[in-house]
Symmetry: C2
């Protein structure tokens, strides 16, 4: 970015799942620990793949209006109940199900996250812009000791990314509705950046292997994003922080 | 509070202006510095009294529906333009007016605030519940290095405290709509706690001299609030943090 553009960005928003936290690695460990503790044998990696795969269709149903607003944690509970039987988990108690859903509250940041955010936060205001519920995101950020200044999520707009209202609500809340170029979105998903750019926001892309070592999607920028870096420390470097 | 109640509180909300930040002392200093810098002589303490006095009536007009939603910073600009002439400030430039309104972004916490919040935050999730705009509150918290986990303000509900929707929105966002007793409000204003209690929230009162040494209002609890303390360190003590 030119130095003019750098100084123009006041607020940096971040996608969180994938971009800031390594949800899959954390959940594989947490699910295995849960299974061992409860004496439950299951193919946890396969379970996680199928469980997470319910995420996009459920969100899309909210975006299209096919179903009313539902929080992400409630979606994961719903999906867990749909698929548990397929993984030999039909007899989970309600408490066990809640424990599984709540494992999301203990996912760990990527190794570069705290250092990168700390540097960016010294010169910019940092906020989440996640599809997670507001309460979930608050807890995930607190658990990870992530130095965000504010939590903003899809719940504030009652619709999921990439619906336009999500980005508009984020800009409105930060007082940037008429100056969206003073906001940036950092994400490891090209579709998210495309939507943010559609609102006039700056964009920063970094590739992540959030789905594991075999991931091929979103490993390269699919447009001329304002910043492209290897990780959040790289974003801080390129922003001159 | 009993130890049972202590452990039941997950999220502690805080009123901010008066309760966490000493806005008047900060603004008296910042206004005097601004006047000296700009060569503007005015009775700044009297100006501040009259400026701040526009706050409650303007918010009440939103609460009653007499006027549509307007953010607190816009209210302060509106009020500044109404009263500037009465204080020999009729010739302020637009930039000077914006500078004056933005002095609110550099108000300092009370001396006990960071220590008290840090202790409370080790065991609880901490969020603002302020009448300030979302962007303003984010900046005030960042400037003061206040260890809040999330920003929630009247702007999230598009109505001011003590309108019920304000408290309900805060509970909804924290996933506590059906368990409001797991939330607490800390405030130096009895009216705010009364409204929070009306929603089933726990309450903590502390007296502040936010209007200066002669303040007589809100110097004592006007009900049997769950916690009464001298300051935020005292709240932490009584919460067993």
């Amino acid at each position: 970015m030119s130095s003019r553009n750098e100084t123009a960005v006041n607020v940096i928003f971040f996608d969180v799942f994938g971009t800031v936290v390594d949800w899959r690695k954390s959940l594989l460990r947490l699910l295995a620990e849960f299974g061992a503790r409860e004496g439950l044998a299951a193919d946890w990696p396969a379970f996680l793949d199928v469980w997470k795969a319910g995420y996009r269709p459920a969100m899309d149903a909210v975006i299209t209006g096919a179903r009313p607003w539902i929080n992400l944690d409630d979606m994961y509970m719903e999906r867990l109940e749909q698929i548990a039987g397929d993984f030999g988990l039909a007899d989970l108690s309600p408490a066990q199900k809640q424990t599984i859903v709540n494992l999301w509250l203990r996912i760990e940041p990527w190794p570069d996250a705290i250092a990168g955010l700390t540097r960016l936060g010294a010169r910019h205001t940092l906020a989440t812009l996640s599809n997670g519920s507001f309460a979930w995101m608050t807890e995930i950020v607190k658990f990870g000791r992530l130095p965000f200044d504010a939590i903003v999520t899809a719940e504030n707009a009652k619709v999921y990314k990439p619906h336009p209202r999500c980005y508009q609500t984020a800009l409105d809340l930060m007082g940037l509705a008429s100056t969206p170029e003073r906001a940036m979105l950092v994400a490891c998903h090209n579709y998210d950046l495309e939507a943010a750019r559609g609102h006039g926001m700056k964009t920063a892309f970094l590739p992540r292997k959030e789905y594991g070592p075999d991931q091929t999607q979103d490993q390269a920028p699919e447009s001329d994003w304002d910043v492209v870096a290897d990780d959040l420390i790289g974003v801080a470097d390129k922003m001159g922080c």
